[in-house]
Structure formats: structure tokens, C-alpha cells
Symmetry: C2
Subunit: 122 residues, 2 copies
């Protein structure tokens, strides 16, 4: 029952720094938006969605154009666009039957550029 004190599951008193732990525990808890943060990263964690964003960086595009660029079905693209829409990473604009998508702000591109830079020198 007291799994908190079960050895091999959680380590014994010897190693852990109680003061440090409780301090950090509090700080982490303060950032309760951990899930919100992770959600943003998750939206960018899929190759398809990453390609969509890299495409939209170049130009505003209709769903059909995106599906052509990626070589994927309209449906698949539409599903992924929804994810990006829900997180307000992209915005859209109707024009007749077509829907044009574009990046919601340049913030995301900066993020991606930072990651590219990171993956370069590592």
C-alpha cells in the first residue's frame, strides 16, 4: 500500500535531497501549464504537421495544394490541420469552395528555426 516508500520503486532516504526536492516540487507545480506547454510541442512533433507548417511558412495554401505538396489525401491533411487550428497555430480563410490556410504568427517559425539550429550543432 505505501508504494511511496517501497524500495525499488522510489529510492530510499539516503540519496535524495529533501530540501531540494520540495523546493523544485513547488516550482514545478506552480507551472501547472505543463500540459499546455507539452500540447504545443506535441502539435509540432509529427512529421506531417511539421511539413504543413514548413509549407505554410513559404506561402498561404489551400488544403488541396497542401495535399499535393505532401502527397497525402485531403482527409489526412484536413485532420492534421484541425490539430493545428485547435492550438491556434494556423488560421484559415474561405474563398468560394476553397479554404486557404496560413500561419497564425511567426512565433512558431522562430521555434522551429531554433530547433533546426539545435539539431545542427549537436
Amino acid at each position: 500500500m505505501p508504494s511511496k516508500k517501497d524500495p525499488k520503486t522510489v529510492c530510499q532516504v539516503v540519496c535524495f535531497n529533501a530540501a531540494k526536492v520540495s523546493k523544485i516540487k513547488k516550482r514545478i507545480h506552480t507551472v501547472e501549464k505543463v500540459n499546455a506547454i507539452a500540447a504545443i510541442f506535441q502539435a509540432l512533433s509529427d512529421a506531417t504537421r511539421m511539413k504543413i507548417i514548413l509549407s505554410l511558412r513559404e506561402s498561404e495554401l489551400c488544403v488541396c495544394d497542401i495535399s499535393q505538396v505532401l502527397g497525402m489525401s485531403l482527409s489526412a491533411v484536413s485532420h492534421q490541420l484541425r490539430v493545428l487550428r485547435n492550438l491556434r497555430l494556423v488560421k484559415y480563410r474561405n474563398e468560394g469552395r476553397m479554404v486557404f490556410y496560413s500561419l497564425n504568427d511567426s512565433h512558431v517559425v522562430n521555434l522551429i528555426d531554433d530547433v533546426i539550429e539545435h539539431s545542427l550543432h549537436s
Copy 2:
């Protein structure tokens, strides 16, 4: 068989801008590191790993301390640390039986701060 030209799967000529598409297609292909980029984002897309990084931002910690902070088993933490290690997001240092982890560079923290800022005003 020619699913590329199958209506309802990929849109017809009317809507798509061939020049634009092929230009972007080439650009996207140039960035063939799409998977590498997505992998970095994926490492940060999990709440557990995000908490680990936020913890390590505060201080170097042994695995046991991290498991205390998160209230998770040593095994679960160790598995996630491996993901972060493989992507060189964290580094480690042995000291007797214990292993101390720390952030590999401040790059990651900047990324997270950017995302926090983004999720604030949106």
C-alpha cells in the same frame, strides 16, 4: 490504381497552383531533416519529460530526486531520461551508485520559454 488522380482523394486541377506546389515541394524536400526536427519536438511533447526538464532547469538532480519530484517510479523516470539522453537534451554524470542529470545546454530552456510566452497570449 492511380490514386494520385483519384478525385476525392487528391483534388482536381482547378484548385491547385502547380508552380507554387512544385516550388514548395522542393523546399520541403530540401529540409529533409523534417523527421529530426519533429523528433526534438516529440521529446518535449510529453508531460513527464517536460517536468523533468523543468526540474533540471532548477538544479542538477539524481534519478531518485527526479522520481521524488514527479512522484513516479525510478523505472518510468529512467525510461524517459533515456529519450532525453538520446536526443542530447540532457547529460549525466556518475557519482558512486548515483547518476546526476543536468540540461545539456540552455537552448532547450529558451525553447520552452518561447512556448510559454506563446501559450500566454493566445
